[in-house]
Symmetry: C2
Subunit: 174 residues, 2 copies
DNA sequence: TCAAGATAGTTTCGTTTGAAACTGTTGCAA
DNA sequence: TTGCAACAGTTTCAAACGAAACTATCTTGA
């Protein structure tokens, strides 16, 4: 059980904050650098965007999913998914058929064209990932995996819970 | 024991790619979750955006910097910095005076109002960071630090280096 | 001295984004 | 049934973004 943790000793020194040592900042910059590089990989080659790539990635196995399920698995919101799908319909990367049982849900499948792209991108993506982690030992890679998993879980928790152990007043005002 | 070791050279099987195990994706999602949460922290309380917070962070020590230097230290591009500064001028968070020696450069300093905000945000930001890494031991925190540093360096390198052994055609077309 | 050219920062333009409003469909309950 | 809330997905609107064009200043070198 976590002890009541009080912000580091003291309120005196504001403990100057160096952006380059601030975890949220570092994660943001790193993710940005990486995303940008990977995006270039398939953007220049196949003319698809990050959201489109993610959709291809989750449907690449040949599965059929609804837009909502895609949103969940790609961590994108439904608006983003909707727009990406619309683009992919235009470029004939995806197939949409109305759901049989529930006509609100549209069933989405990749076209052969998209499957081809998938087959070509996957090795590139994995190669980049391997390249990126070249500087890490196998053990370090495993550790990284672990740490990221735990951080994500924790971040999810903190995102949900607004305040500390405070009563749940949602709205701050001002 | 080292779990699944993937032979890097595999070219045969397309090695299905699970988004949830793909490092760029995971970094993106994690950074996003974290950024969003932190942003809420100071957005609701002080009405400032992420770029503005970053500028406050680098100027919080009382330093005077030019827009270009800010861009460098915050990893934002100059357009973003320019716009953030413009907003901050409106809300009296920043002070701009024309450079003496080089009149192209504007010297930027935080106003007392912004310094107050800085003093209030820093503990909140550090508390969040501490909260986030609660699930990590001290050793793991150090490891994470190390790994992120190395990954960033590597990512920077890969971002600079264009393509693999391909000819350098920049434009992909449709 | 003055004509490139480099540099600092801003503005413009078209695109992307997220939140909220909206349309259409389903499930539930009176 | 009908009425209404919940849900799936789309559209709208205003803000935010990036790339490229632009303004203003400084540097250079002929």
């Amino acid at each position: 059980m976590p002890p009541v943790r009080r912000p580091r000793s003291a309120k005196a020194a504001p403990a100057s904050l160096h952006l380059t040592r601030f975890l949220p900042y570092r994660l943001s910059v790193l993710a940005n650098t990486v995303s940008h590089t990977v995006a270039k990989l398939y953007e220049t080659r196949f003319g698809i965007t990050i959201p489109e790539w993610r959709i291809i990635a989750v449907l690449g196995g040949g599965e059929t999913l609804s837009a909502g399920e895609i949103a969940q698995r790609t961590a994108m919101d439904k608006v983003q998914v909707s727009r990406a799908i619309s683009r992919m319909l235009d470029s004939a990367l995806i197939l949409r058929e109305s759901g049989d049982a529930d006509r609100r849900k549209a069933l989405l499948t990749l076209t052969p064209k998209a499957l081809t792209i998938y087959a070509e991108i996957v090795p590139m993506a994995l190669a980049y990932e391997a390249d990126l982690t070249t500087a890490l030992s196998d053990e370090e890679r495993a550790t990284l995996d672990q740490l990221l998993t735990r951080l994500q879980a924790r971040a999810d928790g903190l995102a949900a819970a607004p305040a500390r152990d405070d009563a749940g007043d949602e709205d701050g005002g001002a």
